[in-house]
């Protein structure tokens, strides 16, 4: 679920794009299937974390079945909160020498 929010943090994306984005960003580690993805999308929609966009970016030729999803401010806040929480967890793990020092990029 978090991965979907992360994927949408950059741009509005349609379903397939979310799948690709998640796979790309996780180096192929997280491969969502359509069923799982739309289960998540439904929940995020219900909770008001994302919205489906009717108007689409000036598209070249786009399938009309496609819907673009956008992070709502609430969704963004939640994603940020989750990221912070993870950051703290990582920092804690590091302080316990469970992880190597962060490599400067």
């Amino acid at each position: 679920m978090f991965h979907v929010l992360l994927a949408l943090a950059g741009h509005d994306l349609h379903g397939y794009a979310i799948l690709k984005e998640v796979a790309l960003r996780t180096g192929g580690e997280v491969q969502l299937s359509t069923g799982t993805l739309y289960g998540i999308i439904k929940r995020l929609l219900n909770d008001g974390l994302i919205v489906a966009q009717r108007d689409r970016p000036a598209a070249i030729h786009d399938d009309e079945r496609r819907r673009y999803y956008r992070l709502t401010p609430k969704g963004r806040a939640i994603a940020a909160a989750e990221a912070e929480r993870l950051e703290k967890v990582v920092a804690l793990a590091r302080s316990r020498h469970l992880l190597k020092k962060a490599q400067p990029a």
């Binding site: 349609h14 379903g15 397939y16 359509t34 069923g35 289960g39 079945r65 819907r67």
Partner: protein, 883 residues
Amino acid sequence: MSENKTQRAAHRATHRFRMLLRLFPAEFRGDYGPEMEQVFAEQRAAAEKHGDKIGVWRLWWETAKGIFTTAPREHFAMLRQDSSFALRMMRKNLGFTIAAMIVLGLGIGANTAIFSVVNAVLLKPLPYQHGERLLTLNPRTDDGEVRRFSVPELMDYRRQNRSLDGIVEYHNMQFILLGRNQPEQVETGVVSWNFFDLFGIKPLAGRMFEPDDEKPGAPAVLLLSFEFWTRSFGGDPGVVGKTFRMNDKLHTVVGILPPFPQYPKHNDVYMPTSACPFRSDPDLIANRQGHMLRLFGRMKPGIKPAQAEADLSTVAVSMQREYPKDYVQDTPLHVQVTPLKTELTRDARPTMLFLLAAAGFVLLIACANVANLNLARMVRREREMGLRTAMGAGRVRLFRQLLTESFLLAFGGGVLGLLLASSALQLLTTYVARFTPRAHEVHVDAQVLLFTLLVAGFVSIFTGTAPALARRENLSNTLKEGGTQSTLGVTRGKIRSALIVAQVAVSFLLLVGAGLTVRSLINLQHVDAGFRPENVLTTQISLDFSRYMSNQSMLSFSDSLLAKIQAMPQVTSVAMSVAFPLDKSPAYNNGYVIEGRPANPSEEKPTAEFNVVSPNYFRTLGISLSSGRDFNDRDRPDKPRVAIINQSVVRHFWRDESPLGRRVSFDNGKNWTEIVGVVGDVRERGLEQAPKDLIYVPYAQYPQMAPSLLARTQGDPMNIARATVQHLYEVDPNQPAGRIQSLEQVRADSISAPRLTANLLGLFALLALAIAAAGIGGVMALSVSQRTHEIGVRMAIGAHPAEIVLMVLRQGMGLVLAGLVLGLAGAFALTHAMTSFLFGVTSTDPATFVLVAAVLLAAAFVACGIPARRAAQVDPLRALRSE
């Protein structure tokens, strides 16, 4: 060409993917299906582009996995949402909810209760080890008489059969148990040492019988039945090892039996054959004609009852050949086997299935009723439904919502039904015990719970589908003003009417069934049984044979007892007999010869049932003496043998002449007995059974070990019960009284099964009537409220209130009449299945049909009358304004 192929493959893939999507709830599919298809198509195309077959396969695998995990979650989420919405709706319509739950609870409760009996008695395997392989063995003779086996026969069957891995014997005696505060008459089962092993019954305490217990001269041992142990010894395990005097011998209790269905009779104690003074008699053991044993066998694995029957009959025929003197030679001897389960449930099966059908009918009516309530409610919810449709809820979605609501209602009804059923279980067990020894196995268990759940499921589909079906496609006008009057209203009105007609029809069926049963019960209660049961006390006695060895001693016992009882001021007449009407004692049937009428081989030898009675027996029981005389004090052992016959014998053999002074012989002409009197016919074996030929002989000439004392009293006969026992102890302090009952009680008990059946059926029918009447009233009330406008117009243009009443009544009663006609047709088709339950009334008894129809019409009339009156009170002005 290749592009074409790719396209086709893509098409096929989309199709398959759609199939997978069907696993999702329709709503989810509607919302995301097209998008998911599109995403999947792109994923697939990407995988194909790489020309990577494995990638495509992996995609399919991952997709399927995802759908299989997500879809149930979606269904569950939806169910939760539907349920919480349904619960909200139910709270909002509390009146409807409670009414529907009660109606369904009654319907489901009736079914659960009856099913718990059917399940325990008819469906479950016998609670014996290998119960399905157990048989009862019966020698069959041509006259259809139930015969028993003799000891030499048992030995032959044991030795020569090839189909059974065990045959055990059983017979029942009444013995007197001494060693407790009072002498006690105990029902005793006399059995083979391995009787309980064959049934797979293990002792609750102590041990079972062992082979040594059965050896001649072995110390006498006893097993106590669970019921006797708890009743008489308060469940004290210390009783094992104690000794009691019985039949002038010490008997040691070696074990306690667990509770189990005892067949053919409920016994207090069991003893091995060597302990029974009759069964251990060497003369009896050697006597091939001493038929006193019942046999049970267990088939070897894989053997069918028919094979066992053929095998045992072969043994029988060879016995017949080997001992020509002991068997009639004209027809081959035959052994009939019956699976024990059939035997144990034979009496219960028809009644229980019949009641289950009746309960099913009650449930149908309850369902139809709640479906109607639902439909009526839908009128009010039309706006809500329309709104939800407009907001994008599909038909399936709404259907699902309605089903969820119905299921919650049905579930509530099911819980209520379970409560009702379990509270009625005790009553039901007592009732069922009249039919089968398996009654005590009746419980609410997992199967019953499952059944209730299934019934609730059926109910929710039935009650939820009707309103859902009534919502056809076109919903657009429901949102418009006055939408409730749309075409939808018409469809729904039709379904409602049909449901009313069905309810009336099924109610009629149930009422007719109950009516016939009740009439037959009334007939039974009023049948002239040939005796007057009021104010007669009956006391069964079983003499201790170890002290009453001679006819003389038995006679002096009966003489002194009779004299003492006769001397009581409340007693007007007293007698002794071996049997009295409806006492369920085994019949003594015997052939006899009439003097001067040589037996014609082509004709049947006259046979009759015998009873041994003291003087005043007929006076005490109120049996009429038609001619001749009663037995008197001069008919003693040393005097000429005399007999009294009933009218039935006269009809058969002395139609044109007086039987008085004629002689009959019971031992093929060695001794002759003179007929001195004729008495009226008595229904001895059951109020529903026509009297048979019956010959009475004097008690003094044939003293009996197990007589009954009969006393006619002034006032309640039970008042002298205690004094009677006192007198008995005065005559013999070691002689207990057996069962003491008033003859009226005996008579009432003899029809308790049909009475309880009639009560249950009557209850079901009244339930059905009440539910159906309420349903009719409700629907008419709704119809009136929907037609308020129309009625207002009619009144405004001058219709008289009476016309309005008539209009409403006509509409309602029209439906009722239609239901009645349907019910009548159904009744003619179905009631003949009841014939075997009926007495003195045909299954299409016109009086019952008319009466039932009248009751139904009256109830429906009242139910329609209330809304009709309301219709007539409509204020035209307000009605017109309301639209």
